[in-house]
């Protein structure tokens, strides 16, 4: 009797141990892939920074925007309810700030304003951006029980003060910090979809400063990258070579390309594959295919939803990606400039959707 009981216990333990072992294996595989991707990106970005900047933006800029659109649609509620003010502020801010940002290079090209006014205009736009984010944080805090997120105002105003001292540097910070927002999205997504991976993911994130520090240490004394043609000059300027003349442009471009590659990797690979973006009949196995199903988006699936609108938005997104590829093929430098100006809309859109996940 006792032996029988022991056999049953052993079988039960083996049954329980199998999923746990699989889970452990999955976590290890996940960590290995993360580290390999980060190291691979760092290697390629350090090796041929300008070339990889051209190729990655060409291939992934458009598709990653489409995946972001798809992700944001899946996060959009059918009815705003108590978040009405939050979403109205969010969409109004995205529209206004994007329109004004796109207007700046147009104004510059027509030379309508004297040169000495541009830092003031840039600082004003940055201040509006900071105040918009502060209002969003405050509104988000109002939806949470026992949370007062009014601290956002002094923080935003303090940052605005720093921005007025050196607006060009503040804009450069956005260039470098924006790719990191994707890692925050992945963190929030994992906490909901695969909480058992979250700890491992955060440990891997601790390696990021080490990789960045190592890259910078290796490249900070290297010679400046050749910027003898218009395209290379644009890439080095985008990475801040003019603002930071004492830092090697090789290190700057490499860091930017590395962060961009991580950003694209999160939106194009990690988020769609690690966790399903929408509910499907056999959820996880078909998570990758669910990306293409309009009905997997809650706003489209709901009886009071907008399936045609969602379909139109996604189809238009695909069309824009094709147009972007065509533009890159015809005139890469101009299309790149236009893309990085218009792409401010997706940078802004990330703020409210990230806040909704906090």
């Amino acid at each position: 009797m006792e032996r029988t009981a022991n056999i049953d216990m052993a079988t039960w333990r083996a049954d329980m141990a199998a999923p746990a072992a699989n889970r452990q294996l999955n976590i290890r595989a996940f960590a290995s892939i993360l580290i390999a991707c980060a190291c691979g990106s760092a290697f390629f970005a350090s090796w041929l920074p300008l070339q990889f900047s051209i190729v990655t933006v060409f291939l992934f800029a458009g598709p990653h925007n489409w995946f972001e659109l798809r992700y944001f649609l899946s996060r959009l509620p059918v009815r705003f309810g108590r978040s009405r003010n939050f979403f109205i502020t969010a969409f109004a801010g995205i529209g206004f700030l994007s329109a004004t940002y796109i207007a700046l290079p147009v104004l510059y090209s027509f030379s309508l304003l004297p040169d000495h006014l541009w830092p003031t205009i840039l600082a004003s736009w940055n201040s509006l951006l900071l105040l918009w984010i502060a209002v969003l944080i405050w509104l988000r805090g109002k939806n949470k029980v026992r949370r007062d997120w009014s601290w956002a105002f002094p923080v935003a105003l303090g940052l605005a003060a720093l921005n007025w001292l050196a607006p060009e540097f503040f804009s450069l910070e956005i260039v470098y910090l924006h790719p990191l927002v994707a890692l925050w999205f992945l963190d929030r997504h994992l906490s909901r979809a695969r909480p058992e991976w979250l700890r491992t993911y955060r440990r891997c994130l601790c390696l990021l400063p080490l990789v960045l520090g190592g890259m910078f240490w290796q490249l900070s004394r290297t010679a400046a990258l050749p910027d003898d043609n218009g395209l290379f000059w644009r890439i080095t300027q985008h990475a801040g070579a003019q603002l930071l003349p004492n830092v090697s442009s090789h290190a700057l471009v490499t860091t930017h390309v590395f962060l961009e590659m991580l950003h694209y990797g999160v939106w194009l690979v990690a988020l769609p594959l690690i966790a399903p973006l929408g509910r499907t009949k056999n959820a996880q196995s078909s998570s990758a295919r669910a990306i293409w199903r309009v009905r997997a988006v809650p706003v489209a699936r709901h009886p009071r939803g907008f399936p045609k609108l969602v379909l139109a938005a996604l189809a238009f997104g695909v069309f824009l990606v094709a147009v972007l590829w065509f533009g890159f093929a015809v005139d890469y430098a101009t299309t790149r400039d236009v893309y990085f100006t218009v792409a401010i809309a997706h940078v802004l859109a990330e703020a409210p959707f990230l806040l909704k996940m906090l």
């Binding site: 291939l59 923080v155 303090g158 003060a161 001292l165 050196a166 218009g230 395209l231 890159f328």
Partner: protein, 195 residues
Amino acid sequence: MKHFFSIGAFCLLLALAIPANADIARPKPSPSPAQSPQLPKMVLHTRLVVVPDNKAWEARLQITQSSLDELRAALGNTPGNDSTAQRIAHSTTRTIMAGVFMFLSLSFAGVWLARSMQTRSQKAIALMLFGVAVIGAAAMMTQANAGPPGSYYWKKLPQNLTKGAPTSGGVDIEIVPDGEVGSSGMKLILPIKPE
């Protein structure tokens, strides 16, 4: 077949990426001269007289009008390269705006702390923050940057010269009519008392 199509599409994209690396002309000359080590550039040669003055409180550099004109003409051929600190110092509007935002930030932080915290010590911190904001705003408005008089920094010049050590201190630059500083182009008056 699907895989073949996918690989074909990927190759097509890569092929399109190759002509994108076009060798087009840069829009303007490279604006990053500081990437190469900067060498001192001589723009003007003139004469300088150094005079100690025990009645002066501040060092003064007197430049004659003609020397200034020559200097202006020489600088006209030299591109400006202001540092960030210089650009900030030269922009009054931006400095004022930064001060206003800092004042607002500290004030809001004080109000937020006072509202969200209950104990007396925490309220004292909030009050202190608000006080710092008010003092900061007052300092900004009065543009107070008073320090010790220039003679304090320059009084060690003789000893430093003997030791071969550098001496730094403030200097007022004055434009004076030609002939007022003798045959020299410039005159440096130092507030030093003879020992």
